[in-house]
Amino acid sequence: MPPKSTNITTEEQKRILENSSSVIKQQIAQMKKCLETKNKFMDSLKHVSNFLTELKTSALTPKQYYELYILAFDGLEYFSDYLKDDKPNLNLDDLYELVQYAGAIVPRLYLMITVGTVYMSKEGAPIKNIMKDMMEMCRGVQHPIRGLFLRYFLSQRTKDLLPATFTDEDGRGDLADSIQFIISNFIEMNKLWVRLQHQGHSSERLKRIAERQELQILVGSNLVRLSQLEEVDKNYYKKHILPILLEQIIQCRDVIAQEYLLDVIIQVFPDDFHLITLDDFFEATLQLNPEVSLKKILITLIQRLIDFKKREPDFIEQFDALSLADIFDKFISFINKLNELKPDLSGEDYSSILETLAQLSIAYYPNNYDNINSIYAYAIEKFNTLKKMENNQQNAYWKSLLMIPVESFTDAKSLLQLGTTYLDFFEAQTHAIRTTISLEIIDKFLEKQTKITEVEQVDKIFEILKTLIVVQEDPTIKKLGLEKHAVMTSTLFGNGVIANEEALDPIEIVLQQEKLAKFIHLLYNKNPYKNFELLKQARQFLTLGKLRVKYTYPTLITCILRLIRKLNLIKRIETKQQKLLVANFFKFISGLINEMTEYSISPPTCLNYNLITAELADEVALVDIAYDFFIDSFVMYEQVIVDSRLQYQSLMNIYNKLYNSHKMIELNLENFDQLITKATLYGSKLLKKTDQCRAVYSAAHLWWIIKEIDTDSSVSSTSSFGVSNIVSPHISLKKDHKRVLECLQKALRIADSILDVNQISEWIN
């Protein structure tokens, strides 16, 4: 044997490769010339032997060796074509004998396989014997790389010549012999391949691994060959092929071989073969070297089955219904065995196995939620065991398992069909993980605009989203009593546009809450009363956010106002009964605003919600309710709006809404007068004189209210510019000259005291 290639440099290898390549090319060229010439056949044989001699090298990497192999292969193809076509009379028996005496063993065997396979292709050849002969002879090369390529050559050359049916003519072999031939070659190649790992110095372990990975397809090609045998059906495969393959794979105990070969089996044999051999396959995986990544193998298998279902959705019907009904169960009982025999399987592996399994179930049994429930039950169990073992170490790899329902089901709402195991498992996760998942779930729902239509669904989804709502208890804040303090200061000086808390929330919290607010819009039912129930239910959860309601309640209010408008539009606020029902809507809004006020959330905002609610109440002719909301607004104005600029702005807002309360004027003028009297008074009490002056002047409008009448609705409703110049028909709803005059006079008096006349006239204009 030539010395080991241990110390060879890459440059040297490159040079050797170049040199050998050119020798092979030259020798092939010369072989061709000799074959064209009479009586030069023996010379050509010599050239063949010469180029094959280059394959004796041990100096090259597998990839480099493959380059030489390809060149030599081309030469041998040419040579064998010549033998086949041009030498019909050449006595192959003789030739077969002849090459056996030629040169070194490697060239001799290549030549022998070339001639042998030409021989096999001839009519009446003793195929079975030739097969046996060649297989036997190949044992002569035990160097892993050379041996693997030689046997690969054997496999390539014989592929179309092996008996392909189960009928044996004159003892020349049948398909069973072919299968045995391929399997023997496989077993021998696997041995060579595994042996390579144990050659050379241990410091070259990594290099060996790399070499072996390059060589792997040579071994795998035998399995490809088996899968190409058309006469082999799935039952034959289950009975006569797979068991031998698995046995060999188990016996070799080699991690690389086991992982790779099982992968190849999964890839090259058809899906229906796998469906009937799941048990055998599982059984084998439990006997592998403990270092083998079971996860990789199982995921490959499951993924293949999932792809199959996607590619051939109708296959199920053709397939034996019984054996299909329990694919999932088969996997589950395997998981049970796995837990029993390999309790130390890592959480990460376990979770990704469960993850693909969930995907399998969703692909095959889209309506079976029990399967998914049981997957989460398994997850919790493992999670808890690991928690004990790993000392409460929580890991992020469970996250994608929890995302499966929203990501793999076509309808994200399937998440809400799941049982309690999902939530239990979810709640076992860290706050950080739960937060990410909650946000991603919201994203999924928003992306597809998936509506939440039932109260139970609200409960389910908010049990998850609670993560975002409830403020994470930060022990440091609690101890110092900072939280309380913050609330109190904002009550004392609760006049800022922004409440103190708002400034404290980090940006990611703000974004989360805004997302949550967007989600509220997805709570939808065609029936406005049912829709209301959904929103009410959501509030039960949102209220837990305490100060955070400032982000979500406004949306809740907006949604309810919209519902009321809708009811009005479809004329459902007519009868007493209907009005009572809607009154609840208003009451609910009032509760929300009160809660926000209690948390001292932006008083002008709260005031504004009171006013727009009052406005709507008036619009739908619930004038008593409108009155109440105005009163609430007034209380708020008096008690919590302290800043003078805000006071003025808020008051203007109040005037504006009062001015538009036409229904109240019509239906309860007494209440209205009470309100505007009070509002006018507020104006005269403002802190700054200028504000007073403007306010009282504005208040004058409240005592003379004109309503335009739509005569030609199409014109007046679309009117914007230009049309405003036309005096539209109008009626006076309220006309109190005396009060108007009083207001204007008062405004003038105040103005007098602070401004020169020019300025006054300027702004009166």
Binding site: S22, K25, Q26, A29, Q30, K32, K33, C34, E36, T37, K40, D43, H47, P62, K63, Y66, E67, Y69, I70, D74, E77, Y78, D81, Y82, D85, Q156, K159, Q213, E214, L215, Q216, I217, L218, G220, S221, L223, V224, S227, Q228, V264, Q267, V268, F269, P270, D271, D272, F308, R311, E312
Partner: protein
């Protein structure tokens, strides 16, 4: 030498993402068979097909390849000496279409093609038997890519229903033959030089 009585061997490589139907196209062309079953290809191997192109006998060596890298661990030395390269995509798979160009580029580099602009490629859009709504790549779009890659011949086929497969491979064979003839000339030239330089006793063979 160009008057060689030996029949010509045309080496053809089929490339494309896994699952586009490379193996199926080859099976349909060579054996006239189609299987719905999916068996991944590992490594690379060829099937021979004898053809007569304008009275010339030739054997097409059609190399079917694995679309996944992990199944091509020994590299792609077999690209060398190709006479034509068939690029296949699946009309229902956008990614496979988008990858066409990188398959071509990879081929040109690895096969060490001397004159890339004139090397014959043929593009095939396979699986046109599928329902209209599953088709994601229009003929127009594919055609315009082929034009931009240098007016490559383009065929739409169904390996399943044997649509256009013969036609596509006929063009493959013709283009391969043309390529082979131009390459042959170069090969002979190098061989002659080498033999001369070598000056060994095999020289006598060159008659």
């Amino acid at each position: 030498m160009s008057g060689s009585h030996r029949k010509t061997v045309l080496k053809v490589i089929i490339l494309g993402d896994s699952g586009v139907g490379k193996t199926s196209l080859m099976q349909q062309f060579i054996n006239g068979k189609f299987s719905q079953q999916y068996k991944a290809t590992i490594g690379a191997d060829f099937l021979p097909k004898d053809m007569i192109i304008d009275d010339r006998q030739a054997t097409m060596q059609i190399w079917d390849t694995a679309g996944q890298e992990r199944f091509q661990s020994l590299g792609v030395a077999f690209y060398r000496g190709s006479d034509c390269c068939v690029l296949v995509y699946d009309v229902t798979n956008t990614k496979s279409f988008e990858n066409l160009q990188s398959w071509r580029d990879e081929f040109l580099i690895q096969a060490n093609i001397k004159d890339p602009d004139n090397f014959p490629f043929v593009v095939i859009g396979n699986k046109i038997d599928v329902k209209e709504n599953k088709r994601l790549i229009s003929s127009k779009k594919a055609q315009s890519l082929c034009n931009s890659l240098g007016n490559l011949p383009y065929f739409e086929t169904s390996a399943k229903e044997a649509v256009n497969v013969e036609q596509a491979f006929d063009v493959v064979a013709r283009n391969a033959l043309q390529q082979e003839e131009s390459a042959d000339f170069n090969d002979d030239y190098t061989d002659a030089v080498n033999i001369h330089v070598d000056g060994d006793n095999y020289n006598s063979c060159a008659c």
